[in-house]
Amino acid sequence: MLTVFVVCALFALFGLLLGYSARRFKVEGDPLVDKIDAVLPQTQCGQCGFPGCRPYAEAIARGDADINQCPPGGEEGVIALADLLGVEPKPLSAEHGVEKPKSVAIIDESKCIGCTLCIQACPVDAILGAAKHMHTVIASECTGCELCVAPCPVDCIYMEPVKETLATWRWPEPKAVGQ
């Protein structure tokens, strides 16, 4: 009888302790979403099906989205998310797009009519221009999200892969172990 009483008392004590800790050490905000957002490439392209990287991060945290829906993040990004969340990495979901080499958008100035539709589409304000004025892409700010390509009524925007320079060149990975 005493045993039952002691065990119940212990349970009650632990319950109180846990409740107090939940209250006392509660973290405001949603750190998991922040952590997921920190891993995402911030292209804000919407290929994942969500209007930007933060909504996608929130969806992953809620459990509404899978981790393999971000093509700009590539396989590396999927693995980083898998590591963060402690789940198995999986291949990129084909229906959300394929991983493409890093590119920037370029406006063909001979065709641009100055309609500003691309300026409104760019999520990071990387296009310079105004109504009836020439538009141009600031290459250093362009994330390669391709959101400007579709709205252009004269199809004057195209994506060009970034060329490797001495500054961006990296030593290659050595071959795998012979065994």
């Binding site: 030593w171 050595p174 065994q179």
Partner: protein, 343 residues
Amino acid sequence: MRFPTAQAPFLAPVNSVNRIMLEVLVALIPGLAALVWQFGPGVLVQCMIALLAAELGEAAMLSLRRRPIVPTLKDYSAALTAVLLAISLPPLAPWWIPAFGTLFAIIIGKHLYGGLGYNPFNPAMVGYAVLLISFPQHMTAWLPPKELSGSALSFADNWNAIFSRTLPWDMTFDALTMATPLDTIKTQLGLNRLLDEIQSGGLFSGIGGRGWQWVNFGFLLGGLWMLKRGIIAWQIPVGFLAALFAVALLFFLIDPAVYPTPLFQCFSGAAMVGAFFIATDPVSASTTPRGRLIYGALIGLLVFVIRSWGGYPDGVAFAVLLLNLAAPTIDHYTRPRVYGHPT
């Protein structure tokens, strides 16, 4: 003129894995010779069976894993595992003991972890531990040393004993085999006898027990040669023997009636072969210099603990396996100070 490009360094490396393994095998020869001299050529038959099992097991696993077979077999690591296991077995153990033990060591102790370089445990000791726990009778049936046994068995006799379990004339296995000195001490201490009495028997003349001290001495020679050749680092054997000696000395001084002398501890059982050949297996041991000292010392300490108070007469195998578990942690906490960094 066009040239092929490659990356530096362009000088041919001086070491190779198979050279290291071969030199270790060569270093085993003095100890092996001592074993054959004291306990007969049975150990050679055990080596042959183990070698065959190791190479077959490794080849089978490599083909299953779709890796190149002949280049990998040529690194002699499987051969070394086989010989290390074979010399720990009683000379007259039936043939399926070395076969099973070696196959277990190679397949499960090595390849299922990923092959050479990936096994966290010493494969020979994995095989030995499995055999010891599964077949304790066979694994403790040693032969008397030459000085005691009188008539020696010929090679053919050994062969028959191992393969067909037959002995010449009407010798029986029970009558033929006897326990090792360490085994004797453990059982007799359990029967509340004292060391003076136990060690007065013929088995115990000399420092490590008759016969066994020569075996240990042989492995010590081999080990010193390896140190000189730079095959192994000094930290593990020195740590092992120093710790074993120190703690044995401590307890010997406290109660010499129950604890053997430190010299006895260092020259009996698998102490020398453990210090120089088994604990120094690079893949499963600690890798930093300070870490190796700690690793070796803890193994020595554990060997003493198991020998004195554990359930087995000789604790080298289990001590090594336990410290294999701890090696990554020891490495993590013994990182050397990098140039330019504070202490």
